[in-house]
Subunit: 351 residues, 4 copies
Amino acid sequence: MSSNSFGSHITITTYGESHGRSIGVILDGVEAGIPIDLDRVQHELDRRRPGQSSMTTARNESDTVSVESGIFEGRTLGTPIAMIIQNSDQHSSDYRAIADVQRPGHADRGYDEKYGFRDHRGGGRSSGRETAARVAAGAIARQLLERTGITITAYTIEAAGIPCTRIAIDEIEQNSLRAPDNEAASRMEQQVLAAVAQGDSCGGIVECVCEQVPAGLGDPVFKKLDALLSQAVMSIGAVKGIEFGEGFRAARLLGSQNNDTYSEQGWTNHAGGVLGGISTGQPIIFRCAVKPTPSISRTQRTRTASGEVRDIEIHGRHDPCICPRIVPVIEAMAALTILDAWYLQFGRIEP
Amino acid sequence: MSSNSFGSHITITTYGESHGRSIGVILDGVEAGIPIDLDRVQHELDRRRPGQSSMTTARNESDTVSVESGIFEGRTLGTPIAMIIQNSDQHSSDYRAIADVQRPGHADRGYDEKYGFRDHRGGGRSSGRETAARVAAGAIARQLLERTGITITAYTIEAAGIPCTRIAIDEIEQNSLRAPDNEAASRMEQQVLAAVAQGDSCGGIVECVCEQVPAGLGDPVFKKLDALLSQAVMSIGAVKGIEFGEGFRAARLLGSQNNDTYSEQGWTNHAGGVLGGISTGQPIIFRCAVKPTPSISRTQRTRTASGEVRDIEIHGRHDPCICPRIVPVIEAMAALTILDAWYLQFGRIEP
Amino acid sequence: MSSNSFGSHITITTYGESHGRSIGVILDGVEAGIPIDLDRVQHELDRRRPGQSSMTTARNESDTVSVESGIFEGRTLGTPIAMIIQNSDQHSSDYRAIADVQRPGHADRGYDEKYGFRDHRGGGRSSGRETAARVAAGAIARQLLERTGITITAYTIEAAGIPCTRIAIDEIEQNSLRAPDNEAASRMEQQVLAAVAQGDSCGGIVECVCEQVPAGLGDPVFKKLDALLSQAVMSIGAVKGIEFGEGFRAARLLGSQNNDTYSEQGWTNHAGGVLGGISTGQPIIFRCAVKPTPSISRTQRTRTASGEVRDIEIHGRHDPCICPRIVPVIEAMAALTILDAWYLQFGRIEP
Amino acid sequence: MSSNSFGSHITITTYGESHGRSIGVILDGVEAGIPIDLDRVQHELDRRRPGQSSMTTARNESDTVSVESGIFEGRTLGTPIAMIIQNSDQHSSDYRAIADVQRPGHADRGYDEKYGFRDHRGGGRSSGRETAARVAAGAIARQLLERTGITITAYTIEAAGIPCTRIAIDEIEQNSLRAPDNEAASRMEQQVLAAVAQGDSCGGIVECVCEQVPAGLGDPVFKKLDALLSQAVMSIGAVKGIEFGEGFRAARLLGSQNNDTYSEQGWTNHAGGVLGGISTGQPIIFRCAVKPTPSISRTQRTRTASGEVRDIEIHGRHDPCICPRIVPVIEAMAALTILDAWYLQFGRIEP
């Protein structure tokens, strides 16, 4: 399958350079007759779009989605759902000065070797802008999943080294970090702004919880549910690690500590809702390491494609911390992966 | 694609329950005319096979591989390479007593929900035994990769909470943990044996280094090289997390610390050899969290498929720490993934 | 893979209902740096578009293609190439009267059973309009193939029962049937118009010749080149049969007559350029049976989705004979299939 | 997906050279708990195996199938079902004399160009022997389909130019041609034996009827049911053409003649049970052109891989007419394709 497609039964295929005409997605495999609320698709895009707060780039994209096919009179047709988002505020000239430079922390080096020819205007396919297409498709996947009762919630559990001290789901959309702890978020924001003042950027950790996933989703061996979620989430440019349940901490536990046991209160959930690649019926919980934004205005030493050493300062419009905008992207990828597993298991939404 | 297949251009399809007649693999997509040393395939299986040391289960399987097709007069035919490993020492009766019990830390719960009917003899497809087929295929992939100069080396970097303090590659095969630090390995072994004496088990962290991978492997968006490696490695039952380069540590670094910069000494490698999903030409480095073996002899509280609460002690033959035997499996999955990316990029081994 | 995608290395994914907002295609897998002439893409669409002659429907679609991504400064980027064609002249009201009726010869019956809910305006995904997206992608595939020397030419070899008596390639675009024999075409046209006068329609046979295909394309067993071409061409709605070389005639030949033998003049080509699923280096020749247009104005007896018997006369705008417009579609599907086989074999256009 | 795999939800992956150690298949995607009668699997293999009559090669293979996995206590486990057939009577020396010669009508030319290196002993993967693996998998698919009521029956409708004059299903297994007309079969056999006496071989046409297929199977655009059946059947080496319903005859009919209309007696079935790629609920009927066996003892002029002109007489053991042995292969491929479409539509056997 092509490198711009994802999924088995439910597939998405995306296109678009960050500074081209438009970006978009074809979502295929959804059954017919399911009502879709397009306002909620736009709402998810608004959560991901730039220009929301001090934590996000000032690039001004309305990210208005146009549904070209697959939905008729408010319901799915069972045919591919194509969605298009125009690129409007491109500022391509920001990039002209650095067209030949391999930006530190960016994919430029690999692209130069791989393609020999690249759209230097903002990263092309390696730009975070590509993820808007995923969010549009994921917003439909989430509406389908809701019919089954499944909900997916991601949030910034740590940023700039500052962890949340509690998980208050209703606070997530109340602060600029999308953290479930307004007070911690306030300290995160200060810390990030301090870094920005130095021309720098910060990373963080995003946690995702998928609730009401029935036991039995996922498949043995190569399509383990956690393996597919890992591919899904690690395919987001800024993510450098993923762990489920106890995750890396499990490496230091004894079997008797890490195993999930049963009591009157039910099963413990050290495994994070997946055992042997198959959902257990408990919440699926994973965490992702989000690297600090690579585009920074501090001087960095790098080289050009032709090998010349250069100092570079990147003065475009960039997020000081990617966490709050990556939250809806992770939710989208989790929703698409779980919906795919659902269809593989049950064949339709209401089995 | 079926859940027992992996890869795009180079694919493997595996079969076999842990206590069935045989297990095996079909490796497809390899070009014709490449010499293959079958002794080295057997050697990799010997590295994974049970009964090697105090760290591994006493199940006695010779794991002798039989090549059924695809290799003729010592060279590949370009046709599918089928390899079969007979199951011999099955001790299925070990499992009869617990046929109906959902073993803590095992996939039994999900399997019961998913299939309603399972081969209770040792986990069926969720058994670690399934990975022998991957190792056989990976052993051929490694020989192909070597023709390009690429080498892949994994090792236990931490076990039972004890980290290595140095990386001495030539010590890896000298100790029972496959740790690149004989001294640390000795302390790991003591710690694991102490846990075993309590009827318990230990986990650890395995690191994998892929060297001489040229820049430009991997594809943008969903087939990012690190995303595919994550699927590959997370599809191994005991792995609960993966991180590349700085990994979760990157979440706490500033952009200026985490970005790779260029100097006379070349590029730094905080990224772990992959940026934007495409190899940079530097070593690819990732780490995996390996959970403690779930089968332990300590009493655990669990339930049966029909809902009855039960205490269980598991007295079969099980690895006290999975790390040393998972090392060749991780190498195999990394080799298959990188070989696939190589073929997608270059179309043949010697481009 | 989704049912709206085709291909392995080179893939297309299409979307769009015949009376929706737009139709389009994402072409993925093309390497970077290849010059593309977009005028020639439009030219191929113009060959397929309605309103060309007395043989084609009067629906007036300009079918202007917009390239949204993947081509930058006239060359491919190696990223997905998205192309969009707006639907303009929809006349959806033509269909309102027959919304509930299962039109004879159309997919309505299967759609009603499969989806329970369909876009009644002109067939949705089963409309021939969907093939415009294939032609756009095929037009790029053909430009890539030309760099290898491969050419693909299809033509109407028979229509309304009247066969061509000669193959004059330069006459194909000179007549309304796209037949390589202007004189036969003239008789075909008369015969078709006579049928139209009776409220009826005609079918025919289209032949396709792929020249300069090197020996060795295609793969054994399930990806035989003729098997994939068969899927490609049989996936066009109006095609009911396909044969290669001697085709059905081979069933009546002796082995000594049908086998290709070698002499000073080279090999004979009864096989049609494919043996054992692999190209022989000779021209690949296949023929397709094209059924008469199902939409006719004569009264036909049918039923509604709810089971009521109804007489129906279909007075929309429809091709009296599909052959001339299916020619570029068959060329497109052949080009995409052969390009895919080329990439699987050689990895890049200029090996 | 690899070239030795077929299917989306239900997949088969086959391996094995005709003169290697064994051939086999992994059937993946079947749900758990379905009873399978292994005797009936062997029975289908017996129908395909050599040495049955004067119409089949004298190669003596018992073709005994060994089920290695996926079936436990007589029921499917939901895990991959691996089946192995040993090669026993290989007579490889028959081929030594012609190792370098490109046999007329065989795939040798393409293989030489594609691989540069081939197993000269009997065609390797291009041998008809490969189809035994398909029959084994198909025999299980048929048992699954039977639970839904679907039956699949193929037969020789014409051989050596002699057509059947009636369709008597119960006569199919009563004659050496698998023709549904004992009297016609007797004349076919005489005609074939007369050709054999001249060192020659004959072809024929096989028809396949799939009954009780519900309306709604198959998918629009590229996964049309007839397109997938075409790939499935055209992937059998000896098949050179396929047509559905009226097939090539439709090219000469008027729309009013070819369209299926509804009356008290139900729908007519000119379409052969598929419209717009989706089953109509009527019998699916297709016909395949089977070429005359290419291996004949008459002198033929050919060349070697290195370009030397040679006369060749092929004296191995070969079928004088492939039709009777291809019948179970076509049934198997049809069963696998329809089962796959069933699962894509319904998700499980008993929806």
